[in-house]
Symmetry: C2
Amino acid sequence: MNPNTTHAIEVLKADSSKISSVDFENLVFGNIFTDHMLSCDFRNGAWEKPIIKPYEPMLLDPSAKVFHYGQAIFEGMKAYKDDNDEVWLFRPEQNLERFNKSAVRLAMPEVPDDLFLEGMKQLIDLERDWVKKGKGNTLYIRPFMIAIGTGVVAAPSTQYRFMIILSPAKSYYSGEVKVIIAEHFSRAANGGIGAAKAAGNYSAQFYPTKLANEKGFQQIIWTDDATHTKLEEAGTMNVFFRINDTLYTAPTSERILDGVTRKSLIQLARSLDIKVEERSVLVTELVDAQKDGSLKEVFGAGTAAVVNPIVGFSYADMYYELPKLENSFAAMLKEKLTDIQYKIDSDPFGWTVKV
Amino acid sequence: MNPNTTHAIEVLKADSSKISSVDFENLVFGNIFTDHMLSCDFRNGAWEKPIIKPYEPMLLDPSAKVFHYGQAIFEGMKAYKDDNDEVWLFRPEQNLERFNKSAVRLAMPEVPDDLFLEGMKQLIDLERDWVKKGKGNTLYIRPFMIAIGTGVVAAPSTQYRFMIILSPAKSYYSGEVKVIIAEHFSRAANGGIGAAKAAGNYSAQFYPTKLANEKGFQQIIWTDDATHTKLEEAGTMNVFFRINDTLYTAPTSERILDGVTRKSLIQLARSLDIKVEERSVLVTELVDAQKDGSLKEVFGAGTAAVVNPIVGFSYADMYYELPKLENSFAAMLKEKLTDIQYKIDSDPFGWTVKV
Ligand SMILES: Cc1ncc(COP(=O)(O)O)c(C=O)c1O
Ligand SMILES: Cc1ncc(COP(=O)(O)O)c(C=O)c1O
């Protein structure tokens, strides 16, 4: 953990709120932002005074390093409102820790704990009305950091901006999700930045995903880039495979994001006496298990979608369908996890944090 | 090649020039920009009217996709002034082609040929006085494109900005360059974006390079990420190895940038009856060749530094020094190439293009 900042947060309130113009029943994910944002610059080796101010565009030099060398990292989290109008975060210290790991890997300064955690709470507190009650309603939280120092020379910036913006959201995915298993393209290298939540990792996936979309698939399950034999993760989700009654998921590595949903589901499943193995699942294993009927479920796990059941996968131009289950682990785990997040159920793990 | 734009370029001139405040003898690379820049937005599936206008900061929304998902690509080129005050570009169509390859790989729109080439010429024409005569003096040209569409959902943007900014420059590197051969970290994956000039590729290198710097090395020679046995390229340079009198350089691949300097040096060397082999060189080969004295030279090749001799390399915690040569290929090729670029020598290859 990092030392705290010495600066209190300055607050500059918006003159009016745009909340009344928002149709909360028909939100497009990540499209609308609340009235305020948090912003804090790093210069001369130190974090300056953070400010919460009206959400607005910012002025950047065309030579700002973020445009040329991709020094940009982010986190994705959510706030939930319970029936008593209290607002809750889910394991925010995990996101803080991962954010600072990403920062180190991209040669960016780490963010002080209180700037991230207390800054976030203070900002959300101001935007309480944007968090709606009822399961499925959330406030998506996007902390991010970009290099704002100028100069077209390929070296780390000396100036950075940390920001938090907030977007009211419903659930992320709609419709059935079919995936393609990657045979050629990859999202991460051994010794690369796959384990960091770095902006550059996502742009690398857009073109292969577009090709997949054109074939009628929504997502790609990435494989290890050296052999394309091990199943790793999806674009913004870790992946679980249920073979008979055991859940398998790839171990975290340099190539895989250490998902908060993934680790929470593992703990939750084990507490429910479901066997979970963290080990590489081979593509051939998956295909064999589909063929002999032992493959019961495949699902993605991530903050945006929580749990996302996959209805089928394509590999080597063959399409493999998954069975429709009555008692799916995916549905059950999603129910249990969201019950904890919305304070419907008790939280034996101590995961929820009050704003 | 792409169709041309239908729009003429609008020109908005700066009220005054800052050129008189610039110390052209003591330039820091990529730090100072000329009076004007070119900017052109892509919206609703088409490129809008390009404009050449005063160099200035731009307003971007905090949720602009470039900040979150790293859709950002660039090129690096130079303009040279000959003794008759004519300004020349070097193989600009190569950079255009590579730029559009990068665009495709990052799911960004391709830039029309004339926007890139004619736009660049028109901008440089306006800034002629910034290109100084004399070998080593250049105007560094930075075309780039960023995703300016908003929204924190991991999908390609629908809006982009293409820009060209110009920076007067002297030579890029100073002092002796010692390199470390990568044993753990990597810059590119099989099936990844290493062959694209994507912003994200550079931020991935900063942390390992910082570690190398701390040990007294300026650069890293990257190896293939799967086995770390094949020598690939440096941070912003392709790499050549001279063993006896043959030059070796890694073949271009998905992991390696197809450098304009690299391909020009290969052609130039062959025209001078120097044998060049494009094949993977193994780390073990390099170490063996250093030990038996057949390794004569290692040098980087790229637009910024042209040719950059490497004085020694480190591998597995051993440091290997390179001999000091009288008649180095590096020095000779650099001389010949820059003579062509500055129109001191004839250009039998048709590489130079008048502005
Ligand atoms: C590449 C990738 N994998 C997995 C995840 C899931 O992580 P988390 O559960 O922390 O949201 C994410 C983030 O959403 C991601 O971007
Ligand atoms: C990764 C990388 N390799 C090689 C090069 C050399 O390419 P070029 O000779 O076209 O400048 C560059 C660009 O400068 C680069 O960024």
